[in-house]
């Protein structure tokens, strides 16, 4: 081969590879499954299954006037009934193990892009005890959060996006078989199962001394987190904030009974109600967080913590029906109810010599 022939081969290769890469980038731009560049077009339904990749873009480009904030325990909440009842369009802004500051970051983002009428905020007990840190900046998804066009190559030339997300999103959209209210629903991944829920529970043997949320570092973190929420509430009187305590199974509470944190969490819930209820645009809901059946019936759980659609739907209807409202006057009563169920459970566990089988007695309780 001559130098000229080598040159032709080399340039031919560059051209071919360039065309392929351009077509790939074009496909990603057009379908944009993570809503990084634009809202919905081409008949797409806004399929949402990967919260860490999609929430940011969804808040920027989709249409909504209400936001459902929370950690993984809120992911299964169907927003359709909320939309129907309140006449709004709710966008889920959820993150696994969400810190309060992550949710505040999402809410800020929502306010930058849309007028928000309702905020449904799932306040799980540990959320308000995390250290206030920077907004989420995991390296692997930084390209979706910053404005640097160069690192978009991670999105534009990405086998997962091209060969998985786009066909999946387009398939569900065009078949018309996707309900946006079920965004990030666990059912897409697996079904609830009591055995599996129990299999994920590995509690500590020893029981540690009780910790409080009203003293030391815990108090500082609690107050800082509540400051953050309060700032948002105060800055947006036009928005109705509906806070609700999320539900987790009794196994989750068992973990914190043993690590001594359960009282800290009750303190946190009490303090949140005290501080935020003074605002006219705030209402607190107990939902089903201390509902005996929802706590004890593990057939509705995927693991030691996350409840299924049915339990989540009860949570949604508590908001719709304005029931089980919490005020500074009755918060102690509400947490007492949960504490009683927890103590009853722990006593039974001792009586059963650590044998979890008695939990099968509660199976089906939540359906009754």
């Amino acid at each position: 081969m001559t130098q000229k022939e080598y040159k032709r081969f080399f340039l031919g290769f560059l051209l071919c590879a360039g065309v392929l890469l351009f077509l790939a980038a074009l496909a990603v731009f057009l379908f944009d499954p993570f809503f990084h560049y634009h809202g919905l077009w081409l008949g797409m339904k806004g399929v949402q299954t990967k919260e860490e990749f999609q929430v940011n873009g969804a808040l920027e480009h989709l249409d909504y006037d209400a936001v459902l904030l929370g950690a993984s325990v809120t992911m299964n909440m169907n927003t359709d009934p909320l939309d129907e009842h309140f006449g709004c369009r709710t966008q889920k802004a959820v993150a696994s193990g969400a810190h309060c500051c992550t949710l505040a970051y999402y809410l800020d983002k929502a306010y930058q892009n849309r007028d928000i009428r309702y905020v449904f905020w799932g306040l799980d007990p540990d959320q308000i005890f995390y250290e206030i840190d920077d907004p989420p900046t995991q390296d692997q998804i930084l390209y979706l959060r910053d404005k640097n066009p160069f690192n978009d190559v991670n999105y534009l030339w990405n086998a997962d996006v091209l060969l998985q997300e786009i066909p999946h999103t387009a398939g569900l959209s065009w078949k018309n078989s996707y309900d946006p209210g079920t965004a990030y629903d666990f059912l897409a991944i697996k079904a609830p199962n009591m055995e599996e829920a129990l299999a994920t529970h590995h509690p500590e043997g020893e029981i540690r001394p009780v910790r409080r949320g009203t003293e030391g570092e815990a108090k500082r973190r609690l107050e800082e987190n509540l400051d953050l929420i309060e700032e948002l509430v105060a800055a947006h009187p036009e928005t109705k904030f509906k806070f609700f305590f999320t539900v987790s199974s009794i196994l989750w509470w068992d973990i914190h009974y043993r690590d001594g944190n359960y009282e800290k969490y009750f303190d946190g819930q009490k303090r949140a109600v005290e501080r935020l209820s003074v605002y006219d645009n705030v209402r607190f809901y107990a939902g089903v967080f201390n509902d005996r059946a929802c706590l004890l019936d593990l057939t509705h759980y995927y693991d030691y913590c996350h409840a299924d659609r049915e339990v989540s739907l009860r949570q949604v209807y508590a908001l719709i029906n304005d029931e089980h409202i919490i005020t500074p006057d009755n918060i102690t009563e509400e947490t007492d109810t949960l504490r009683d169920i927890l103590f009853e459970f722990e006593n039974r566990l001792i009586a059963e010599d650590g044998d979890w089988n008695f939990l099968y007695e509660y199976a089906g309780l939540a359906d009754e």
Partner: protein, 490 residues
């Protein structure tokens, strides 16, 4: 910076190569070389700036010893001091915590670990510099100009994971004015070799790693077929991973008209472990032979001494690969087998006379290689009996199914969806077929010529352009979640 990253492929390489040839075009040959050194240092310290200071200090130390050897007598003294300096750096960054943890284990000392982060490629560039210092002390190497020395150590294609290049293989090439101009033949051959290496790493090694990682991540759950699959997957993974890196390094060098030494030559076709080491990580074998084995007496002092020298050589080889006992055991295992091969050289040679005999020798070597990779891959020595226990349990619990599904990846999404429609609950057969194909392709490719052998011929037809572009395209779109190179950790 890794070879398998967007920034390297789309920014670093074009900029470096274009800059190098542009400076030559304008008659700035030495500046072109300085440009390469600068870019190589950027490559090495990208994202971890302190590495710049480490490699600079390492180079400065060695260069000073070379100056001392030039201006004063006592080359042996300065040579020894230079080697001690190099080994000291290597010991501190690579072996200090290993040493402390062993002292603690044997003497209950309770010394604190330093948790030192292993700098990328330190084993490679330290060995290269040792070879230079020893050659200087032996009077076999001249004192190079600083820029020549710096390009010898830092030249980015071979900096992080080899091949281990000797100064007399590299420096003369950079001094050769004829090699400084753009050469379309070399640029094309280098690019093709780079693309073949990249796709070997991403489309084969990384896919195989999904199976191997799953298997080694939960050894207790494996049955016999599962352990076998895990073992084979890792055997192919490590070969494609490391040889891919070498292919890419060779390709990158060639783009700039620099020939780097071959590091692999169909190692899994070996019919003995000795032959394996002539085909696997060739440059390490050559380094250890010249600077350890031969000075120890090599095979000149009788059979027992030869066996001992072999064991020392492979003990060091194991330790070079990692600061943990499983690597040492892996090295010793190879050393012991080679010592036996030497001991029974005559009957083993007889066996080679017939075709079945040759096959038996190949099979024996391949089995030993596979078993020894288990020692290399486990995360602790405790896992060795556990793994072999599962392999020879002759049990079946369906772990192959778990391993096959671990190989799930974006390329399988559409086939799996189609299979769900056509096969219903039996859709997971797609994963079995995929794994089978993956192993088949791996076995076929491992038995064929190395990529460098194909590109050396340099006969590229037009019809190869599209498949090559597709390989490149598939590799690039798989970059965002590929695993790091195994050998850069050594």
């Amino acid at each position: 910076m890794y070879f398998n990253s967007y920034i390297f492929i789309f920014l670093f390489v074009p900029l470096t190569v274009a800059g190098y040839f542009a400076l030559d075009h304008f008659g700035k040959k030495r500046i072109g070389q300085a440009w390469l050194v600068l870019m190589s240092l950027c490559f090495y310290s990208y994202g971890t700036p302190w590495l710049f200071f480490l490699i600079t200090a390492s180079m400065a130390g060695n260069y000073i010893f070379s100056i001392l050897m030039k201006h004063f007598r006592h080359p042996r003294l300065f040579g020894t001091l230079g080697v001690v300096f190099d080994l000291g750096l290597l010991f501190y960054f690579k072996y200090f915590d290993f040493f402390i943890s062993n002292v603690n284990a044997f003497f209950n000392a309770g010394w604190e670990l330093k948790h030192i982060i292993l700098p990328m490629g330190i084993s490679f560039y330290t060995f290269q510099q040792i070879s230079y210092i020893v050659d200087r002390a032996r009077g076999k190497a001249e004192h190079y100009a600083l820029l020549d020395y710096m390009i010898f150590v830092t030249f980015f294609p071979q900096l992080v994971a080899g091949p281990i290049v000797r100064h007399n293989e590299l420096v003369p090439q950079f001094r050769d004015a004829a090699k400084k101009s753009l050469n379309w033949e070399n640029l094309t051959k280098g690019s093709v070799l780079f693309v073949l290496g990249l796709s070997k790493k991403i489309l084969l090694a990384d896919m195989l790693s999904l199976i191997a990682d799953q298997g080694y991540g939960d050894i207790a759950a494996l049955d016999s077929p599962g352990a076998l699959l895990t073992m084979l997957a890792y055997t192919f993974q490590i070969y494609f991973d490391f040889s891919a890196y070498s292919d890419m390094a060779l390709g990158l060098g060639l783009m700039m008209n620099i020939s780097l030494p071959h590091n692999f030559d169909q190692p899994y076709r070996s019919r003995s472990i000795r032959e394996f080491w002539r085909r696997w990580h060739i440059t390490l074998g050559q380094f250890l032979a010249e600077y350890v084995y031969i000075p120890l007496g090599g095979n000149r002092k009788g059979k027992p001494r030869r066996a001992l020298n072999t064991l020392i050589l492979f003990f060091l080889s194991g330790l070079w690969h990692g600061a943990a006992w499983n690597f040492v055991l892996w090295g010793l295992c190879h050393g012991i087998v080679i010592a036996f091969e030497d001991l029974f050289e005559a009957p083993l040679k007889k066996l080679e006379a017939s075709k079945p005999g040759r096959f038996l020798r190949w099979l024996g070597a391949f089995v030993i290689i596979n078993f020894s990779w288990v020692l290399f891959r486990v995360s602790s020595l405790k896992q060795v009996p556990q793994f072999f226990g599962r392999l020879f349990s002759f049990s079946e619990n369906g772990s192959v199914s778990v391993l096959a599904q671990a190989a799930d990846n974006a390329f399988l999404f559409i086939p799996v969806q189609l299979a769900k429609k056509l096969l219903g609950e039996h859709y997971f057969y797609v994963y079995f077929v995929f794994v089978l194909l993956l192993l088949l392709v791996s076995a076929v490719l491992a038995g064929r010529k190395e990529a460098w052998a194909y590109t050396e011929k340099g006969v590229f037809k037009k019809k190869m352009i599209l498949p090559l572009a597709v390989l490149f395209f598939l590799s690039v779109i798989s970059l965002s979640k590929v695993v790091v190179f195994l050998y850069s950790n050594f």
